[in-house]
Amino acid sequence: MIRRFLRHIRTKLILWHMLTVVSVVLLYSSSAAFLLFHYLREQLVRHAIQDLETVEGLLYIDIDRNMGMHEDYHNNPESKAILERLLEVRSPDGEVLYRNALLGNRSLGGPPFPGEGVGGYSPRTFVMEDGLSVQLVSRRHTFGKTDTVIRVAYSEAPLWERLGEVLAALLIPLPLVLVVTGFTGYLLAGRLLKPAHQMAQRAEQITGSRLHERLNVEQSDGEFAELAQVFNGMLARLEQSFHQLHRFTSDASHELRTPLAAMRSVGEVSLQKHATADEYRDIIGSMLEEANRLTRLVDSLLTIARADADQIVLNPSRFTAFRLVEECVSLLEVLVEEREQQIDVQGDRVVAIEGDWLLLRQALLNIIHNAIKHSPLHSVIRIEIAHTEHNRVVITVRDDGPGISEEDITRIFDRFYRVDGARSRDTGGVGLGLSITKWVIERHGGAIRAESAPGAGTAMHLEIPAARDTGEEAAAARTSTNGVARRDSH
């Protein structure tokens, strides 16, 4: 695929190269030919003028008013040109006085136009009746009492012939030029695309299991080095995702294996002894508990798989952050009472969120549930709602629990990660709650952050965008309470 694409680029490069060279050759040849032609024509005109002056001296009028010309000029070196000369002499009123042998009875234009040959030579291009194109010059001349207009013309035919020869000389090698350009283009394109080819070759060798390989980045390759770096960045990200996926799969298998192992050994051991009906009942119950745990785990895994595949569609509605917190607190209230703890909710009551109520509720339930679980008996869990700059809502849940070590805090949102594996498994956790919470918050364009130190409790900050038009209402409400937090005890 990439190779075909590169071949395509190469062909294109060669064609462009050839087209450029051919256009340059054509442009150069035609302008050279044009200049040459122009120069030769000027030469011809100049020559005609000189010749006209010579002719003036050679013409005579005899007594019968017949015009003649001394032809004793033949041993002149320019005789050849003179032989090609076309000569016509007319009186100012148009009467033909003389035409030379070469001209015969053809005409070099009709009666003289006013001002023809007066004070100059009136050089012009003239097309004769038989289609011959000539350079023509004229001159007034007076023989004794007779006024005449002398016209001398030279054919342009030799000029055109010369032009043809020159053009031929310039253009005949064109096929050869094409071949040479094609070849050099081929080499050049090959050279230019070589790094791309190497990259393609190497990239084709990189598979899922060989994602650690990278493309060579040679500084001399300029843009290609940049490209290779971009690809390498992509490979690094892919490798990381693969790695995560791999870890997720092996973690998930491990988590699935644990309840399976328990179920199996409970079943096997109990079959090896005789038990009463009540004991069997208990054994089956214990196996069912493991089955429930498996069910729950698979549910969570499916949720995560769907979240990863972006298949979970948000169902947004509008509610205040305070109502969300209240709802979660009231759901979990019995647990708090049972542990003789208190939940203290403070802060902004008006700021609204536009989001998926069920998902956000689940996320916050996870956080508050964790706080209740980890806080000691009789302690207070503090929840604070703040409407911050850039119109964002921050819900902070603070507990007096044992805290989380610095090492653990970076990993608590990882899937299957448990700060204290054995204990949270006993309480029914599968180590996915926080990672699902994180996903929910991020899916809403927010961020979640944990702040903790061993022995100092834990604070979870859930930051999500506030609903767009609550900015002013909420700001007004904030100023009216003058920054004094309202207390709400349970």
Partner: protein, 227 residues
């Protein structure tokens, strides 16, 4: 009441059959879609429990065919796939209810009961079990004639257990029907357990016989004798 189960996984089919037969139902089993289709046409059933993924013809195809032939029998679909689209497709095709595997057996019992009871008037206004009485309209509860003071949630919980008295209800059923919780992954198990403990303290602690029992691994049941 006759129920036909079309399910290709033999263990699951046998378990459901046995479970339903222990109630008042008469159950037939079909292993493939074709067999099920034939049985529906040759015998009379009150309810069809249909697995979606079957060898040969899929459950959805059979469902579509039956509805096209104007069979009005209630149909409960079983499936391992639970995306919203699958659910909608199943219900659109004409299923009356939909259950995702793995499900708790009490859940299946409850759905079967509900489907067979359709059109039958609601439960009575006053429910009784031994000397425990619950009056729905006034939300009053008495044990041995003594009024019991319950919170709103505790009352809802007890009412639900009373309506299902004699059968086990799972935590998932409580979560969905009492707490109206639609997300399966919400961590409310502890909450349910605490509520059950409190309810038990109020209606059972000072009285005999004990009525509210925990069935380990399955859920809770309200009945006079220990299961």
């Amino acid at each position: 009441m006759r129920i036909l189960i079309v399910e290709d996984e033999p263990k699951l089919a046998a378990a459901i059959k046995e479970g339903l037969e222990s109630e008042i139902y008469e159950v037939r089993l079909a292993r493939t879609g074709e067999e099920g289709f034939f049985l529906v046409h040759s015998e009379r059933f009150d309810l069809l429990i249909l697995d979606v993924m079957l060898p040969g013809r899929s459950g959805l195809e059979i469902l579509r065919q039956l509805r096209a032939e104007n069979f009005r029998i209630p149909i409960l679909l079983l499936t391992a796939r639970d995306s919203v689209d699958d659910r909608v497709e199943g219900l659109d095709t004409g299923a009356d209810d939909y259950l995702v595997k793995p499900f708790a057996f009490p859940e299946l019992q409850a759905r079967v009961r509900a489907l067979l009871r359709r059109g039958v008037p609601e439960a009575p206004v006053t429910m009784k079990l031994a000397d425990l009485e619950l009056e729905v309209s006034s939300r009053a509860v008495r044990r041995s004639g003594n009024p019991v003071d319950l919170t709103a949630r505790e009352f809802d919980l007890l009412e639900y257990l009373m309506r299902n008295q004699g059968s086990v209800v799972s935590r998932e059923m409580l979560m969905r029907d009492v707490w109206k919780e639609t997300m399966r992954a919400t961590p409310l198990d502890n909450v349910i357990d605490v509520h059950i403990a409190r309810l038990r303290r109020k209606i059972d602690d000072n009285f005999d016989p004990k009525l509210l029992h925990t069935v380990r691994g399955v859920g809770f049941v309200l009945r006079e004798t220990i299961p």
